[in-house]
Amino acid sequence: MEKKKNIFAALFGEGVRNRTFSFIIVIAAYIILESMRRSGSLSSLFTGLLVPICCYVIAAIGLNLNVGISGELNLGQAGFMSIGAFTGISVSGCLASSLTNPTLRLIVSILVAMLVAVIFGLIIGVPVLKLQGDYLAIVTLAFGQIIMSLVTNMYLGFDENGFQFSFVENRTKLAKGGKMLLSGPMGANGTDRISTFTVGAVMIVLALLVVYNIMYSKSGRAIMAARDNRIAAESVGINIARTKMLAFVISAAMAGAAGALYGLNYKTLVPAKFDFNTSILILVFVVLGGLGNMTGTIIATVVLVLLPELLRPIADYRMLTYAIILILTMIITNNPVVRKFFGGLKLRRDTAGREA
């Protein structure tokens, strides 16, 4: 009896309830959707949306770590997704003959994509340590634009003699049997569609595990302390630069992984897909889901990806309706009366942690 109570406390006690809840939601949703998909009772439209939803959820969880927990506004998450997507596609493309198991190839591609995203995260993270607030936001926006612009001008080919790379103009001359991995503004074509919903769901669970482990550990508390009061945190010996960098790089890694999963889900992918609007879209998921609230982020992502599809019956007006719903949601959830009413749900005010 005693032991059973402990397990219950470990799973549903104060402080862990939300975490357990989010894992249960993800796993239950996976089991239901996967069995529906296998029995063929899911429409082709929704089957096609399963993997993209997983990608957006992972990228949004990563961004929430950055914006919600670390308190730094990032407007360039799509840039990291772009890096991940085209790295993943390239890796998968050149491993196509040597690694025939698609799931294994997918995992390898995602891991390499994460690694590359981490490297870029470290490079881009340097200004993150120097700037604050809106200036940081504009730098992440700028990096997102730069990455998109660079990927749009990259040509990468692969044949028996190895890789051929050129910039701005396509100067690759491939031998017979060679394959273009990236072709400038046209992006990647003829990608093997090896992404699966199962891998996506596993990645969401892993992302949640990582984020919760950070949030409820010493580094997580340091990150949140740095967000809430930079000076006080510094005075108790927290290395602000290191903690902010940690959140930023993990967020980048998740976006990279999400991007690889996304890229390997489509036959063709253009670099323009990961533009400023995509960064904003992910930020909207995070803010609507609640800063620092991972369960909320997952729900908001699923709802907002499905919403335009559900609004299809009103065809022309769907994006207009989407915009109105977005504005109304923000106004209603920030209304003082509504806030007071939902006070028990611990809606947090201005968790962005901007210093006055």
Binding site: K130, Q132, A142, R230, F276, V284, V287, L320, A323, I331
Partner: protein, 291 residues
């Protein structure tokens, strides 16, 4: 085309950015929010001018007046309906609302006027003035002159009038301004009105230079002008002016001397370098940390 002529066309492009950036920077200075819908107000201004010139055959001065009136009214309505209820909310909530407004305007325009590109009529002609070997188009001269006039008028307004003084007070401290008898809400409305009116002027100059009108027309100039505002130090009016001009010059030089395709990347890279050296922009107020 030599160095000087690139410089002048850079100044022309930069003038348009500067006028748009003024809208961003004024709203930021007073309402402390990034108004992402500003670019779409430009788009609405472009459509209004297009229909005024093309369908109703109005003269240029009437068109300008009409576009400015419509955009000013739009700016005030947006502020009252979407941003005012969020005065106490977090800056991120306001940012998302601004994005919602931006989607709304873009999709509304697409529904009303379809997504196909419309060709903007030539308003200032194709004439140019030649001085020695240097040839400058009339449009560029008009654009630069407009920018200077706007800048001088705005500086006088901010520094010499009672409303301008109230605006400066609000940007310093809203609470204290209220105690001094300033109606903060109406000052914010006036700021949005001025910013949106300037957006209408910018839309005409922009469409005269790049004569195509489509629903997402405002996005890229919006992002660039926002960058310009940050470049100069957001919240600072001379900063927006300087940032806009520099951004335009850098963009034209990057296109001319390095690569057309990579010009955007170069512009943003320069921005990052500047912010690394001067973290609050060229003319931005130094942020003092309170301990």
């Amino acid at each position: 085309m030599g160095f000087l002529s690139y410089l002048i066309s850079g100044l022309g492009l930069g003038s348009v950015y500067a006028i748009i950036a003024l809208g961003y920077t004024m709203v930021y200075g007073i309402a402390k929010m990034l108004n992402f819908a500003h670019g779409d107000v430009i788009m609405i201004g472009a459509y209004v001018s297009f229909f005024a010139l093309n369908s109703f055959g109005l003269s240029l001065p009437v068109t300008i007046l009409l576009a400015v009136t419509v955009c000013t009214a739009l700016g005030i309505v947006i502020e009252k309906l979407a941003y005012k209820p969020l005065r106490q909310a977090s800056s991120l909530a306001v940012l998302i609302t601004a994005i919602g407004v931006s989607y709304f305007l873009q999709n509304g325009a697409q529904l009303l006027w379809s997504s196909s590109t419309k060709v903007f009529p030539s308003v200032f002609g194709n004439g140019s003035i030649t001085i020695g070997s240097l040839s400058v188009s009339i449009l560029t001269i008009i654009t630069i002159m407009t920018c200077i006039v706007v800048m001088v008028a705005l500086t006088l307004f901010i520094n010499k009038t009672k409303t301008g003084r109230a605006m400066r007070a609000c940007s310093e401290d809203k609470g204290a301004s209220t105690l001094m008898g300033i109606n903060v809400n109406s000052i914010i409305s006036i700021t949005f009105a001025i910013g949106s009116g300037l957006a209408a002027i910018a839309s005409l100059l922009l469409c005269a230079a790049y004569p195509s009108v489509f629903p997402t027309l405002g996005s890229m100039p919006g992002i660039k002008a926002f960058t310009a505002a940050v470049f100069g130090g957001i919240g600072s009016i001379p900063g927006a002016f300087l940032g806009g001009l520099l951004l335009g010059i850098i963009e034209i030089f990057a296109k001319a001397y390095i690569s057309t395709q990579l010009s955007d990347a170069i512009v943003f890279a320069v921005l990052i370098v500047v912010l690394l050296i001067k973290p609050t922009g060229l003319l931005g107020a130094k942020q003092n940390e309170k301990v």
